[in-house]
């Protein structure tokens, strides 16, 4: 069996490693144009910050691929003949496959602003973007970031670390409005502003202005203001990379259309990760998932199917995490930005420090549905169990210390959280609490 995987991001690599475990004799080839080896895409910012070197963001040492007989081809795949089961490479050679996995990831999405082709205007997705950003931001003083999501905050932190003044334009009236409830947005925005970032909500980019050499010199906002900018980062999202799928004649929409086995419209061809679009996503789940974690899970799932163990993709409880400058964020279960009518929301904030805990629960039976934590670390297996076992808010608050994943000696806020809950929801009883630590966890 020869499995050819296009893309060496987390999806493709997880699929390759899983396939190696399930099919020890299979021939497995990873084809990638971007880099010779797998690297951690979320770690790109740490290269710019100077926290890490390129070798440090490679999750596996180079011997790993040789010893596990995972063949690496550093070349661009230009077309696929799904009838003859061959992949054409830009180098001129071709690969014959029994199974093909497309894990081609995303490309940067922009709104087509006037002037976005100017030098010094770019998105931030891969190594070439990091490369051009590193060169274009040397010695500059003013930069503008556009887009209120996770890449936006990364770019702001990166630029800030080099002493560059950052103006950050966010279209929505508050930060990450599509994901975070208002209190979380406000806390993150206050944290970001404490670093001196000029964070402007309800402000859009209208136009990018250039100088005589074709370099960006300023931006104009929808409020009509002209802001100096020697570099502009467009962090307005990504969209599935469909170039190869289209060349192969696969059915696509926003992404490469796949069924629950992650199979595409062509026999023997699968797609997973950022580039895949589920034909029938489960209720309350999205069709295109663009997270590191979902990429890893999809890669693992599709490898099972390819290796003869057909496995439908089931993501399980939602979870995610991020870091905004020094403020950490974790979420388990569902905490929508807009609260549904049948759900109650309990939100605790530390009066002076930057800690927030929000727990949503159903009004009818008090069963918890999700948690947001800012500036607090929460233990995933515990929340997974509480959410899976339909634990009530009272039971969760009583055992809350069992989910505490903060470092030893950290201040514990569980009693204050319970007091605040009793104030906000005096009608709901909370049983006697349990102590922190591993004893409660397992």
């Amino acid at each position: 069996m020869h499995l050819v995987i296009i893309g060496n991001g987390i999806t493709g690599v997880t699929a390759a490693i899983t396939a190696r475990r399930l099919a020890p004799d299979a021939r497995i080839t990873l084809v990638a144009a971007e880099s010779a080896h797998h690297y951690s895409r979320p770690a790109l910012m740490y290269l710019y910050l100077g926290h890490l070197r390129y070798a440090d963001v490679k999750p596996y040492e180079d011997w790993f691929w040789v010893e596990n007989r995972l063949e690496l081809v550093h070349a661009e795949a230009t077309s696929v003949d799904t009838a003859a089961r061959t992949v054409q490479l830009a180098t001129g050679s071709a690969l014959t496959y029994d199974y093909l996995l497309l894990a081609t990831g995303s490309v940067v999405r922009t709104a087509g602003w006037p002037g976005q082709q100017l030098r010094g205007v770019q998105g931030f997705y891969g190594l070439p973007d990091l490369e051009s950003m590193s060169q274009a931001t040397q010695g500059i003083r003013h930069a503008v970031v556009v887009g209120g999501g996770l890449i936006g905050v990364e770019l702001a932190e990166m630029l800030h670390s080099r002493g560059i003044r950052v103006t950050w334009l966010v279209r929505e009236p508050r930060y990450w409005q599509s994901v975070l409830p208002p209190e979380e947005s406000a806390l993150v925005a206050a944290h970001i502003r404490s670093y001196g970032i000029d964070f402007r909500v309800a402000t859009e980019l209208r136009e990018v202005l250039g100088d005589a050499q074709g370099r960006v010199r300023a931006v104009v906002t929808t409020t009509g203001q002209e802001l100096p900018a020697e570099w502009v980062g467009l962090a307005t999202g990504v969209q599935p990379n469909l170039a190869l799928a289209r060349a192969a004649g696969l059915e696509t929409d926003l992404g490469i259309l796949v069924n629950e086995l992650l199979a595409t419209s062509a026999p023997g061809v699968y797609a997973a990760g950022d580039c895949a679009q589920h034909r029938q996503p489960a209720p309350s789940e999205v069709a295109v998932e663009q997270l590191w974690y979902t990429g890893r899970m999809q890669g693992e799932t599709v490898a099972h199917t390819i290796c003869g163990q057909p496995t439908p993709y089931r993501r399980g409880q939602w979870f995610n995490s991020a870091k905004f400058f020094a403020l950490e964020y974790q979420t388990y279960g569902r905490v929508p930005a807009q609260l549904a009518a049948d759900t109650a929301s309990f939100c605790w904030q530390h009066p002076t420090r930057q800690h927030l805990l929000r727990i949503n629960f159903r009004r009818a039976d008090h069963v918890v549905t999700g948690v947001n934590a800012l500036g607090l670390r929460q233990r995933q297996p515990v929340w997974e169990r509480w959410l899976g076992e339909q634990t009530s808010i009272g039971g969760v608050l009583a055992q809350l210390a069992a989910a505490n994943f903060d470092a030893e000696f950290s201040r514990q806020h569980e009693p204050a959280i319970r007091r605040e809950f009793a104030r906000q929801f005096p009608d709901i009883a909370v049983p006697t609490p349990r102590r922190k630590g591993l004893f409660g966890a397992w």
Binding site: I10, I17, R21, L47, F325, A326, A407
Partner: protein
């Protein structure tokens, strides 16, 4: 915007970061302090040398404290090791090499050419008379410098890690043990005409404390000497296993030990330089366990010889003891262990050489409740944890597989958990059942990592 040129080498070698202008006065003070130190060492006039030395220590301490405040005190608290791999001093650049050569040179002079330090030693006589009621020697000079480094750069660490109560606690702990038990108490014992004894060093690190010669000497010293022997035996063979069972080896390596204390304070800026490769791990196990075996063998042979059961063992134990004292005790723990800080990281000795670390590590790996827990499936393989590990553990190999980290080497400094941007890692003591159990959120990867 969407085409993909091959990344150039500029990525691997980013432009070096300049020293922020605001930090230059503090650095100038440190440089002047070093000059004054050289002047003191070269000055045969005791009074003038004393003045130069005071000036040197004031400038070095003040400059370092000022630098720490400028670098960490003014900015928002948090883990922000910006430009770590872009500065010459912390990325094996020219400044790092110069620092390494200077440190190594100091140890070579200290061990084998102490007469070169005579002027400095004489300049310290009043301090030594005050504390120890006797004239200074090269070891008093070394102890003074060492303790000052731990205290001054300990304050730097306290500023840097002021957002974490774990780091505040362990930093304060190593500062306390170095000042109290590594400097003041041994001096006080000498002043009281008692044996100079370090209550925070135990066999097999302080190997001679359980040699028959030392034991016999201490036992002659009356009640206190008997207590010292008792203390040494209990700490090595009872307290160490018990404390390591409950807390892991960190109770010693990152909270008490003087070598660890220097690494966590003076060496903090160099922690990321430890080699994380599989090759380095192979050298680690090739070196550290044979060294533990060697000192155990030497101790056993010495007792065998002292018992008189086997005659003429001195033919073996004499040269073996000299070899161990020179190669391991002096060259490895001192010259290489500290001298190579700026090039190989702060824990070269602890990782590759220390027999106490090997002993504690075996206990930690097999008989301890300590582990670093991995939080479900939250790892993004970014590598910040591995980078922060001073012991050269490739932490992310475990985190990205959802496995807890149970490694003999881990000294429990907790920086991997601090550096993690996704809240994945936590140092914990808990029931030994399921201590090695992995996360149910990740099961892709059963391939070997070492």
């Amino acid at each position: 915007m969407n085409d993909l040129p091959t990344p150039s080498l500029a990525l691997a070698q980013p432009p070096p970061a300049a020293t922020p202008p605001g930090e230059k006065p503090a650095l100038a003070a440190v440089a002047l302090g070093l000059l004054a130190l050289v002047a003191a060492a070269a000055d045969a006039d005791v009074a003038r040398a004393r003045l130069s030395l005071c000036l040197a220590l004031a400038l070095l301490s003040g400059g370092a404290l000022g630098w720490a405040w400028l670098a960490f005190g003014r900015s928002t608290a948090g883990w922000h090791p910006h430009d770590l791999w872009r500065r010459s001093s912390t990325s094996r650049g020219a400044v790092a090499w110069a620092t390494g050569v200077a440190l190594t040179g100091f140890y070579v002079v200290l061990y084998w050419f102490p007469w070169l330090l005579e002027n400095l030693i004489r300049a310290l006589d009043p301090a030594s008379q005050w504390l120890r009621h006797r004239a200074a020697d090269q070891w008093f000079l070394y102890g003074t410098f060492y303790t000052l480094a731990v205290l001054v750069l300990g304050v730097r660490a306290l500023w840097k890690y002021r957002f974490s109560r774990y780091h505040l606690a362990r930093t304060a702990s190593v500062m306390f043990f170095q000042l109290g038990f590594g400097f003041l108490l041994p001096g006080l014992l000498l002043a009281l005409q008692r044996p100079e004894y370090y209550f925070t060093y135990f066999w097999p690190l302080k190997y001679d404390y359980l040699f028959p010669g030392t034991v016999a000497q201490l036992l002659h010293g009356g009640g206190l000497g008997v207590f010292m022997v008792f203390w040494g035996v209990v700490m090595s063979f009872v307290a160490t296993p018990v404390l390591t069972y409950f807390f892991g080896k960190r109770w010693y390596c990152a909270w008490v030990c003087g070598c660890g204390g220097l690494a966590e304070t003076a060496g903090d800026a160099y922690r990321h330089l430890s080699d994380k490769s599989r090759q380095a791990w192979r050298w680690e196990v090739r070196l550290i366990y044979p060294i533990l075996g060697l000192i155990t063998l030497l101790t056993a042979l010495l007792w065998l010889g002292a018992s008189g059961v086997v005659p003429a063992l001195g033919v073996v134990t004499g040269p073996l003891g000299q070899f161990y004292g020179f190669v391991i005790g002096s060259v490895f723990s001192g010259v290489v262990g500290v001298g190579f800080y700026p090039l190989m990281g702060s824990r070269v000795w602890c990782r590759f050489g220390c027999p106490m670390a090997a002993y504690l590590g075996l206990l930690q790996k097999h008989f301890s409740r300590f582990r670093i827990s991995t939080n479900g499936g939250q790892c993004i393989s970014c590598g910040n944890c591995s980078n922060a590990c001073e012991m050269g553990i490739d932490v992310k190999q475990y985190a990205q597989r959802g496995e807890p980290i149970v490694r003999a080497a881990c000294v429990g400094c907790g920086l991997c958990a601090t550096a993690c941007p996704r809240g994945v890692l936590n140092l914990e003591n808990g029931p030994r059942a399921n201590r090695l159990a992995g996360s149910t959120f990740i099961h892709a990867d059963s391939l070997r990592i070492l």
